[in-house]
């Protein structure tokens, strides 16, 4: 039996009230007031589609043996790299073994569901097994655009497998149409859309029903068979129209989370599925529709195994861990929409030496240090001579991953001198549970809330962006346990 073995979700901690955006930018288009309800989830300044995908994947594989993982499929329309595989970086951050399959799925908002289909079929054909499928997006609308208000950022991940599946994969149906409602050329940062009537009346309400009917016909099943239907579409009247078309009662339709997170691009159907699985019961039949230049329709049937899967932090857990992003200008700065002056100190030039990067890949991406096989002392970064003065053995080291450990704040500061796009820069020395110490940046926290001995977990984040060479640099940061 092939299907989903585990799932996870991720929503960034910061939420921007849409009214706040409208207050600053409503003057350009008063009609945007209709889109100004609720809030949108905003990636922190050190997050992007890739880091969110890693966070969701970590939530998904929590409790599973990383050495069993056979691949990673990453879907997004906002990859940090055009050439350098993004899924490969995710695999590194998850400290997966080398002999895995990795693929980027891009170009369309349905790339998330396409990745899921590809993973299911790979497992079914025995081509690969235990594939992490993650979808994440960080789309931008120009200041004052409807998209700026609509779009939100989040991620979801699934473990595709032929073993112990919690939801059996029942098949898929796809439509491939060069129907363009939104477009972004390869040199553009911002989404550009055609008029709402086109998107809604010729897009969502035509193509989604066509795809659902195609699926029902192909597998000779009825819509009534499904206990949950998941489809993206942020137009409320269009949703009502589609629901009515298929006679779907409100409890059968999965909420889009538009009011709490926003339109999540390639991650939209995946986060909805991750959320649906949190509450699913054995026997539930779930239909998932991915939309964008056509459609993917997938169906799953929940199994008894779902009762055995340990509770994930999931979309709900991360949704609950929220903090207001009060300043709209901070959002603009974090997403590099406007240029700010972070001082001359911020102009320091740090090169990426790719040969060093390769040599130290386990250290940088996997947050792997060493553990001395003589005295069991964990140490980071890796040491050739054991740092324990009572040991000092040479070359007695084995890989030791700190990424999935917890720790405690040993000492800390909030630094207003260090160049930062969100001062003060908070960092401190962290003592790892189980031994070891390292000084890390802290993230998703406020200085006033931190104290010595506070527990922390670790999160894969952007450590800096090399503007000259267009390289996003990643490493791990400490997240003080204020919320989740």
């Amino acid at each position: 039996m092939v299907g989903i073995r585990s799932f996870g979700g991720y929503v960034p901690r910061y939420r921007l009230n849409r009214g706040n955006i409208f207050k600053s930018m409503g003057w350009i288009n008063m009609a945007n007031i209709a889109l100004s309800r609720g809030e949108k989830a905003v990636a922190n300044m050190d997050e992007d589609s890739l880091t969110m995908a890693v966070s969701a994947s970590i939530d998904c594989i929590n409790g599973f043996d990383k050495s069993d993982l056979g691949g990673v499929y990453f879907a997004s329309t906002t990859f940090p790299f055009k050439e350098r595989q993004n899924a490969g970086i995710v695999a590194g951050a998850l400290n997966m073994k080398d002999d895995v399959r990795s693929l980027d799925f891009a170009g369309s908002l349905k790339s998330g569901t396409s990745a899921l289909i590809a993973a299911m079929e790979a497992c079914a054909s025995k081509g690969a097994n235990n594939i992490v499928v993650c979808g994440s997006d960080s789309r931008l609308g120009k200041m004052g655009s409807p998209q700026e208000l609509i779009f939100g950022e989040a991620a979801a991940a699934f473990l595709a497998s032929d073993t112990d599946v919690i939801a059996e994969y029942k098949g898929s149906f796809s439509l491939s149409l060069d129907f363009v409602d939104h477009v972004r050329g390869s040199n553009s940062n911002f989404d550009r859309q055609w008029e709402d009537r086109w998107i809604r009346d010729m897009g969502f309400t035509k193509i989604i029903p066509q795809a659902i009917n195609g699926f029902l016909d192909k597998f000779n099943v009825k819509i009534e068979d499904f206990s949950k239907v998941i489809y993206p579409c942020h137009y409320f009247p269009a949703r009502k129209q589609i629901d009515k078309m298929f006679g779907l009662s409100p409890e059968k339709v999965q909420d889009t989370m538009l009011g709490e997170i926003g339109e999540m691009g390639a991650a939209q159907p995946l986060t909805m599925l991750a959320k649906a699985l949190e509450d699913a019961k054995p026997g539930d039949k779930i239909m998932v529709v991915g939309y964008g230049n056509g459609c993917d329709v997938l169906a799953f049937e929940v199994t008894e195994n779902i009762t055995k899967l340990a509770k994930r932090t999931g979309i709900s857990g991360y949704l609950a861990n929220r903090a207001d992003l009060k300043e709209y200008t901070k959002y603009l700065t974090w997403r590099h929409i406007i240029d700010i002056d972070a001082g001359l100190r911020s102009e320091e030039d740090i090169w990426t030496r790719w040969s060093l990067d390769w040599r130290e890949r386990k250290t940088i991406l996997g947050f792997c240090g060493t553990k001395c096989t003589e005295c069991n002392t964990p140490q980071f970064p890796p040491q050739k001579i054991c740092a324990n003065p009572n040991c000092g053995s040479v070359d007695t080291r084995e890989e030791y991953c700190f990424a999935d450990k917890k720790g405690k704040i040993f000492s800390y500061t909030g630094d207003n001198l260090a160049a930062s796009f969100d001062p003060p820069q908070i960092y401190g020395n962290v003592d790892f549970d189980g031994g070891g110490r390292y000084m890390l940046n802290c993230t998703d926290c406020e200085l006033d809330a931190i104290s010595v001995s506070m527990p922390v977990s670790f999160s894969f984040r952007i450590i800096f962006y090399d503007k000259i060479r267009d390289i996003t640099r990643y490493f791990w940061k400490a997240v003080p346990k204020q919320g989740v």
Partner: protein, 401 residues
């Protein structure tokens, strides 16, 4: 069995420029000024120098690497000149090298000169590039010097359960005292007195360090000429000899930053280097024997911790000593930062260690005006600390009569 440096080398002469925002002078200009003063004080000719050591720490922003900028600026006559660097202990490292050369009998007279031209960075605080290596650039925290040392305060607060408010009071007193001393020193960069209230109300640089908890940043140069006691006596027949009593240095092994034993409320290397220095100098009780000292007060919390790490204040008790005025210029204890310290001189890295020795040298010779001269000093100690609390280089030098 090694005997150590005690009484084998004496300081024959010293020179020190005014420290400050020396927009007018290049690093080479500053070296020449310190050197000419030093030569005059030593009463020797340039050609008497057998070897020289240059301390400079930031070649990119300053004079460049190698010893060439020094040899060429000073027009040294093709003698051996070496450039040394060991973070904030760079100046002391140049001094140590020159002393070792004399003590070994390889040269009769040696020069140590330190310089840094930092104000050409264009921004406040020390530049951060170049210290950590390429891997650390990619996996290190986004730090600054105050942020790294500020963590001593959270570590101390946690270990000794001293409220941050009390700690801040002691830190403010430390900076107040140094400004009082610096105000009297014509070579200092910052020469204004500052009230405790103003210190406590200053903008935050890196929690809990406010503006006045941080030392200045400046340009400057200082130099020393060292020789044997015999040669010194023959040149300066009527001057008391200022002898080198101890030269010690301790460098972190990685244990503080990687393992979990280090307490975060002290500097191990200061404890280790000072114990070795006291032994080398023949000092059994530093609180009794040291007459004055100049420590690496890059930040007030660093000076605070150093009082304990040097074994002068008891562990966990420095607050009491500080607030009782034990370290004030005319208190009943041991005056610290009698020249104003890094607080008022700023920190041209290569020059700082030699600038501190310049103060000890002049105090031991009784050369200062009465208002800031210490009575009958016997031992003067200098302390440099480069790096950060969990990873650093500490040098301890002791001069005496």
């Amino acid at each position: 069995m090694a005997e150590g440096i005690r009484d084998k080398v004496v300081v024959l002469g010293m020179g020190c420029t005014n420290f400050g925002e020396r927009w007018d002078a290049s690093g080479e200009d500053l070296m020449v000024d310190a050197f000419i003063d030093c030569l005059k004080d030593a009463e020797i000719d340039k050609n008497d120098i057998g070897a020289a050591w240059l301390g400079s720490c930031m070649p990119d922003i300053s004079i460049g690497s190698t010893a060439l900028p020094c040899a060429k600026a000073l027009k040294l006559p093709f003698i051996p000149v070496s450039r040394v660097e060991n973070a904030c202990a760079t100046g002391s490292e140049a001094f140590r090298s020159a002393c070792y050369a004399v003590a070994s009998g390889v040269v009769d007279i040696a020069l140590a000169i330190g310089v840094e031209k930092i104000k050409d960075t264009g921004y406040g605080g020390l530049p951060i590039a170049g210290f950590s290596g390429q891997l650390a650039n990619l996996i290190g925290a986004n730090t600054s010097a105050p942020g790294m040392f500020a963590q001593l305060a959270s570590g101390y607060e946690a270990k000794y359960n001293v409220p941050m408010e009390t700690l801040k009071q002691a830190m403010a007193h430390i900076s107040w005292k140094s400004h009082e001393n610096g105000a009297m020193n014509p070579k200092a960069h910052l020469r204004k007195r500052v009230t405790i209230e103003k210190i406590l109300a200053a903008p935050m640089i890196a929690y809990p360090l406010g503006l006045f908890d941080c030392c200045g940043v400046s340009d400057g140069s200082a130099a020393a000429i060292v020789t044997t006691p015999e040669i010194a006596k023959s040149i300066k027949k009527n001057q008391e000899l200022v002898k080198v009593k101890a030269l010690q240095i301790a460098v972190s092994s990685g244990e503080e930053s990687i393992c979990n034993e280090y307490d975060g409320a002290s500097i191990w290397t200061t404890e280790i280097a000072s114990k070795r220095a006291y032994k080398e100098a023949g000092i059994s009780d530093p609180r009794q024997d040291i007459s004055l000292f100049d420590v690496h007060d890059c930040f007030s919390i660093t000076e605070f911790s150093t009082y304990e790490d040097l074994g002068i204040s008891k562990k966990g008790k420095a607050v009491d000593d500080v607030l009782e005025g034990f370290y004030d210029l005319h208190g009943n204890g041991i005056p610290c930062q009698t020249d104003g310290g890094l607080k008022c001189f700023g920190h041209p890295i290569g020059a700082s260690g030699l600038r501190m020795l310049f103060e000890m040298y002049n105090q031991l010779l009784g050369r200062h005006p009465e208002e800031r001269q210490i009575k009958n000093p016997k031992f003067g100690l200098t302390h440099n600390l480069g790096g950060q609390p969990i990873n650093n280089v500490v040098s301890i030098n002791i001069l005496g009569t």
